[in-house]
Symmetry: C2
Subunit: 343 residues, 2 copies
DNA sequence: GTGAAAGCGCTAACAG
DNA sequence: CTGTTAGCGCTTTCAC
C-alpha cells in the first residue's frame, strides 16, 4: 500500500514527495520529468504513477534557479511602430507565436516598450536571464535595442527585414517584393496600361521592397506609363498621393498601394473624383487586413502569411536557444494575391 | 577602497556580492531591495551604491522560489471568442494592460487557450503558483474556466460582464446600455422617427445590453417606429439584418447596429438598395473600430475606452493580490459617441 | 537595526 | 541505471 505522502507545507506536492511516493530518489524523479532515457521501465512507471496520483507539477522557479533558463520568450512591441504594425497584424502574429510556442516548454511574455527606459528594462531582463529569447519588430535603422540584445548574447528574431547593420540576426519577413510584383502584373494582365503606385515610407524595408516589386513588374513593358507617389502607409497619405496621381494623369487606370490603409484613402478620393472602381481605375492594396474586407468595393490585396510568420519566429528562436551561435538564414514567406472587387 | 567583488561564476552579480561590496549582510541588502524601512541611513546608502556599481538586479526565480509568488499576470485569450473580441480591441487592451503593469513588478504573460487541454493548462499554471492573477475575457455562461480558476483561489478579473454564475468575480466592462441609448437618442434628436436596430448575439451581455439601450432610448416616444433584427456581431449578419429591416419598413430612416462590422454590412446593403447614408438613412455602429474609420461614409460609432479597461483590469487584479478575499465591485466605464459621416 | 542561518524545490554532477 | 549531495539566489525568522 502506498503510504500517504507527508504534506510538508500546505502547498503543492514537491518532487521530494513524488520520490517518496514512488519509492525512489529525487534524482530519479527528476530524470523522469526531464525525459532522460536512462531510467528502468519499472521505476519509470512507478514515478509516473506517483506524479499522476499526487497531481505533481514541477516548480518552474526552482528549476529556473538551477538551470539558469527561464523558459520564457519575450515579445517586445515598440509602440512607436503602431502605424506599420497594424492591429490585425498584431493579433495574428500573437496567435502564430502562441501556437508554435504551445509545442515547447516556452511561455510567451509580452512587453510594450516605447520609451528608452523601457528598452533598458528589456535589456535588463535579457541580461539577467529572465528571458531566453526575444521577438522584436525590426525598427528603423537607428534603434540600438536589437543590437544591444544580440551583444548581450540573447537569441533574437526580428519581424521584418531590418534596414542595416543587423548582420547575422535572423528575421522573418513576407516576400514584399514578389507580392508587389504579382499585384502589379495582375493589373497589367487585366489590360491596364496607365499605372501609379502609392509607396510606403522609404526608410523601412517593406516600403522599399514593395516599390521595387512594382517597378520590376513594369520593367521593360512598352506602352505603359508608371507613376510613383509617396505615402507613409497611413490613410491620409493615401488620399494625398491619390490626388497627386490623378493630377499627373487623369486617365490613370491602375493603382497599386503599399498598404490597405492607403488604398482605402485612395479609394475614397477616386470616388469623390467620380472614378468608378474597378471599372475606371483598378486598385490593389497590401496586407489583406480588415480594412480591405470592409471597404466598398472590397479591396483586392496582397496577403502576408502573418500567422505562419509568428510560427517561424518561434522556430528561429528555439533553434538559437538549442544551438547557440549557429548562423541562421532569414525566412522569407510567400505572399498571396487575394482577389476581391477593386481589381 | 572597495575591494573588487569576487566573481562567483561567470554570471551576474548576486545579492551576496552586493553585500560584500557594501560591507553588510545579505539580509540587509534584501531589506533594502524590498523597501523595508528598518535600515539605517548609512547602510542604506552603502547598499544602494553597491547595487548601482555592480549593476545588480535581483534574480526573479530565486525570489519566486521563496516568496511563492510569481509576479506574473496571465492574459488568457480564448480563440473561440475571435469574432467578438475583435482585433483592434485586442491590441488596445494589451496596451492598457501593459501600461498599468509597468508601474508594478508584475509581468504580462499571454496564452491562447481554445482547447480544453489548454484550459487545463491554464488551471495548472494557477494551481502551481506560476501565475498571480488571470485576466480573462468573459465567456459564454457554460465555460467552466473562470469558475475553476476562482475555485483554485486565483485572483481573476473578467473582461465584459459575465452572463451568470460568476458571483463575486469582478469584471470591467463598457457601459453598453448607456452607449446604445446615447446613439439612439442622438438619432432621435436628428429628427429620425423610423428606427431599426441590428442586435448582437443575445447570449452575451454586450448583445443584450446594447439592445436594451436602444429600447430604453425609444421608450415612451410617440410617433416612432422601432424595429429589431437579429445579428451576431459579424458583417454578413449585418447585411442580412439590414435587408430584413428594409423589407419590413422601406421608409426606415435610422439604424443602430450593435457592432461596426454589422454596420459596415448594413451600409453596403443600403447602398446597394439605393439609399443614401446619412441623407436617407442615418447609421450608427458600435466599437469605434478601424472598420468605422474606413468605410465610406465613415461610421459614426460608440467608442469603448478599451485602453482604460485594460488598466482597470490590472488594478482589479492587483487589489485582489494585495488583499485576498476582498469583495470588489465591477468597473463600468463610460462610452462615447464618435461622430463621423454616417449619422 | 543587523547578522546568521535555514531553507524554498529543483538539477546536475558524482559515485557506486 | 540510481542514490547522494551540493548548491542555484533569495527571503525570512531568530537572536543579538
Amino acid at each position: 500500500m502506498p503510504s500517504s505522502s507527508r504534506v510538508r507545507t500546505a502547498g503543492r506536492p514537491t518532487l521530494e514527495q513524488v520520490a517518496a511516493e514512488a519509492g525512489v530518489s529525487r534524482g530519479t524523479v527528476s530524470r523522469v520529468i526531464n525525459g532522460s532515457l536512462e531510467v528502468s521501465e519499472s521505476k519509470l512507471k512507478a514515478v509516473q504513477d506517483a506524479i499522476r496520483k499526487l497531481g505533481y507539477v514541477p516548480n518552474q522557479a526552482a528549476r529556473s534557479l538551477v538551470t539558469r533558463r527561464s523558459d520564457t520568450v519575450l515579445f517586445v512591441v515598440s509602440e512607436s511602430e503602431e502605424r506599420v504594425f497594424s492591429e490585425p497584424f498584431f493579433a495574428s502574429l500573437v496567435r502564430g507565436l502562441s501556437q508554435e510556442l504551445s509545442s515547447t516548454p516556452l511561455q510567451l511574455n509580452m512587453m510594450m516598450a516605447s520609451t528608452a527606459r523601457q528598452h533598458e528594462r528589456v535589456e535588463q531582463l535579457v541580461r539577467n536571464g529572465h528571458v531566453d529569447g526575444v521577438v522584436l519588430i525590426s525598427l528603423h535603422g537607428d534603434d540600438p535595442l536589437p543590437r544591444n540584445l544580440v551583444a548581450a548574447g540573447a537569441p533574437v528574431a526580428l519581424i521584418g527585414r531590418p534596414m542595416s547593420g543587423m548582420d547575422g540576426v535572423p528575421f522573418v519577413d513576407a516576400d514584399n517584393l514578389a507580392g508587389a510584383r504579382a499585384a502589379t502584373e495582375y493589373l497589367y494582365q487585366q489590360g491596364r496600361r496607365r499605372f501609379g503606385t502609392i509607396t510606403g515610407t522609404q526608410d523601412m524595408a517593406a516600403g522599399i521592397d514593395r516599390l521595387m516589386g512594382y517597378r520590376s513588374a513594369l520593367k521593360g513593358r512598352r506602352g505603359v506609363t508608371r507613376l510613383v507617389a509617396q505615402g507613409d502607409f497611413g490613410k491620409p497619405s493615401g488620399e494625398r498621393a491619390m490626388r497627386e496621381l490623378l493630377e499627373e494623369d487623369p486617365e490613370i487606370d491602375a493603382v497599386f498601394a503599399a498598404s490597405d490603409l492607403m488604398a482605402a484613402g485612395a479609394l475614397r478620393v477616386l470616388r469623390a473624383e467620380g472614378r468608378r472602381v474597378p471599372d475606371d481605375v483598378a486598385l490593389i492594396g497590401f496586407d489583406n487586413s480588415d480594412v480591405a474586407r470592409n471597404t466598398d468595393p472590397a479591396l483586392t490585396s496582397v496577403s502576408q502569411p502573418v500567422h505562419e510568420m509568428g510560427r517561424e519566429l518561434v522556430r528561429l528562436l528555439v533553434t538559437q536557444i538549442e544551438r547557440p551561435g549557429q548562423a541562421l538564414a532569414p525566412v522569407i514567406l510567400p505572399t498571396e494575391l487575394v482577389r476581391r472587387e477593386s481589381a
